[in-house]
């Protein structure tokens, strides 16, 4: 059965988040002074407000204190948040996705120790890293550095993938050093983790933890949509050539081109997210045996950058002014494209999958 219906719960979450972003995030995130400044520190007050709304624990089961949201719902929420502020969207998207995976990878005792405090604390975030682990008696010893770890500076629990499995390492454990990533070419929060003789008890060994599959393309989708909505609104208001510019064929076609990219990108993101919720759809031949998240990742960030540039062009000179949001949408879209796992890597993934 082919159906693109969202459930009443999904529709409600989307409306709730959209409303929250419009009221609480956009007025702060898009204020001229913040747009103009070279440094834009994370909006922690709004991040916590979004946590209180339940967006941090979205993917946990209801038993564990979450909303039991599936991957598609998480992707929808990421788009909505990113339309207001990609940094908040990235932090929450990483944490919510990792929490969802963690719940499935842990024993009841581990859930009690790690997930229960996570669910209670609005400022509790998660990060996923890689390191070498060696057995030392009943414990594991972690070694090695891991660069560009999303959420590292904020996380209260590090999930460290090793050959043995995923080790759960609370922040503050001896032998873990965190360094914030210099520069600002990332969304959310990013840093380097270094492990040096970091001792972790065997009781902290969990199963495989993975990050949200469609986070990056869903993030870019929100950025592209924000640019589109800004251009659409402006094109109706701005009069040149004797009429609102939206009535000129050239601008209307440009807006249509943006809409085309947005809808195509969203279709790719939703399909990948839905597929991760329904692995049986590959087995029954409803979906192709391809890395659908790589398809979304290869298409969306590139298309959204083109969309943001076209949207900015509708604003004329204002499209390059730092007190307006358009330059930020372009930059944010570029970050998605070039943040290390951008479309180049995704295309290669797809190439590998095809060629076997």
């Amino acid at each position: 059965m082919f159906s693109l219906h969202l459930s009443p719960e999904q529709l409600e979450i989307r409306d709730t988040v959209r409303d929250f972003v419009g009221r609480e995030i956009k007025p702060v995130a898009l204020a001229s002074a913040r747009l103009e400044a070279f440094e834009r520190p994370l909006l922690t007050v709004q991040l916590e407000a979004a946590s209180r709304l339940g967006l941090r624990t979205l993917g946990l089961s209801e038993d564990a204190g979450g909303a039991g949201a599936d991957a598609l719902t998480c992707a929808i929420v990421t788009e909505e948040l990113a339309a207001g502020d990609p940094d908040i969207a990235a932090v929450l998207g990483h944490t919510a996705g990792l929490a969802r995976s963690l719940e499935r990878a842990t024993t009841p005792a581990q859930r009690e120790r790690f997930l229960a405090p996570f669910a209670r604390d609005d400022a509790f975030h998660l990060a996923l890293a890689d390191a070498e682990a060696a057995r030392d008696g009943a414990d594991w010893l972690l070694q090695g550095a891991c660069a560009a770890v999303a959420n590292a500076p904020l996380a209260k629990l590090f999930m460290v993938r090793t050959r043995a499995g995923t080790l759960l390492v609370p922040r503050g454990t001896a032998g873990v050093a965190v360094r914030e990533q210099p520069g600002d070419w990332y969304h959310g929060s990013c840093g380097e983790l270094a492990f040096s003789n970091c001792r972790v008890p065997a009781a902290n060994l969990a199963g495989e933890v993975t990050k949200a599959a469609t986070l990056l393309p869903a993030l870019s989708l929100g950025i592209g949509r924000a640019a589109y909505e800004a251009a659409l609104e402006y094109a109706r208001l701005r009069v040149q050539g004797g009429k609102p510019i939206i009535e000129h064929q050239a601008i209307a076609a440009k807006l249509a081109g943006i809409a085309l990219r947005l809808e195509t990108a969203r279709a790719a993101v939703w399909r990948a997210a839905w597929a991760s919720d329904h692995p049986e759809a590959v087995a029954d031949r409803s979906l192709p045996e391809l890395p659908l998240e790589s398809i979304a990742e290869a298409y969306a960030p590139e298309a959204m950058l083109a969309a943001a540039k076209d949207a900015a062009e509708c604003f004329g000179a204002m499209g390059v002014m730092r007190d307006m949001p358009l330059h930020k949408y372009i930059r944010d879209a570029r970050i998605c494209l070039h943040s290390g796992e951008g479309s180049g890597a995704a295309k290669l993934n797809l190439a590998v999958a095809i060629t076997g």
């Binding site: 990533q181 040149q240 050539g241 930059r331 290390g340 180049g344």
Partner: protein, 397 residues
Amino acid sequence: MDFELSDEQREWQMKARKFAQEEIRPISLQRDAIEDPAKTWDWDIIRKGSKLGFRTMAVPKEWGGEGTGFVTQALVMAELAKADSAISKSFSQCWKWSHLIAQSCTEDQKRRFLKPFLDDDTFVLGKGISEYDAGSDNRLPPDDPRAGLKLRAERRGDEWILNGSKAYIANGNIGKLFFIDARTNPGVPLRQGITMFLVPRDTPGFRSGKVFNKSGWRFYQNGEMIFENARVPHANVVGEVNGATKKSGGGGGDTTGGDLFGDLELAANALGICDDACESALAHARATTPDGKALFEQQLVQLKLNRMHALTEALRSFVLRVAWEHDRRIHSPNPGLAMNFSTDVVQEVTELYMDLRSGAGGEMDAHADKLVRDSFIWSHLAGDTVQRLKVARRLGR
């Protein structure tokens, strides 16, 4: 056909290359990284460049300038832009309007304005057309008299009284002399009702407003200009009253001014950015060895380098052909087409360069970031739909 440059052209090119690489390049990223948009300008580099002739090189020899031709100017712009696009534009902006002085000003005006311009290393020029509510309407004006710029000029005796404001004006806060387009007859379509005035900085009733904070071309200053009963002598009218577009556009109806020069200017500047991107990309691909092998060995990297160079060389051919046609006063839609084309080229080339520089998660090379931001300026100056439609109309004439 002859693709060879003359000795004089080659000499200017080499002089520009030396100045660009030794003086401009070292300050390029530094000026770009200054957060306050009003503080990015550097008089020192302008003074140094001016002493070498880069501020005044378009002024005819009989008036004491260098009298260079368009091919030379294109070569110099590209060389300067290869080190910093915005600084190149800061010099060529002066050529743009010295072309206009030479072409359209009376002997008296030339004496009053060209002389001080030549004598003062910090004398830079600007032209005020755009206003908040009039951008595209000045480029492609509809017949409705309400469309287009609104700054009003009314005659009172031997003076004109100017009221209104301009926005996004290049050198608006630092220039010493401006060409200001103002409405002298608001009841007729734009092109029949505007007059161009020479407005020196110390004109009573004129002041600078804010400096715009741009994402790219940060060195190059765009400002607000405010006129409150500003008094300009009638002797400062350029050409005829209600004849501004005739003068600035050489009859072509081009209200963006600069006549032959403006389109070539943006295309030649873009070429310099592309040269920088190509050279930097190649150097990076050779020097970077992820997994022990040069980046250059990857097929996808080679394909990107191929594309970057193909586009850049195509643009070079187009730019030099347009400059050559200008030197022979051959009129065609080519300058406009080259300008439009340069938008597509400079953006694709710099984005490919950025692509090559990315890879390490969470970091981006500051140089690639700057080139991409600078190139986006072309979207509204050279490659927006109105600039393309304008050239298309010319093709259809």
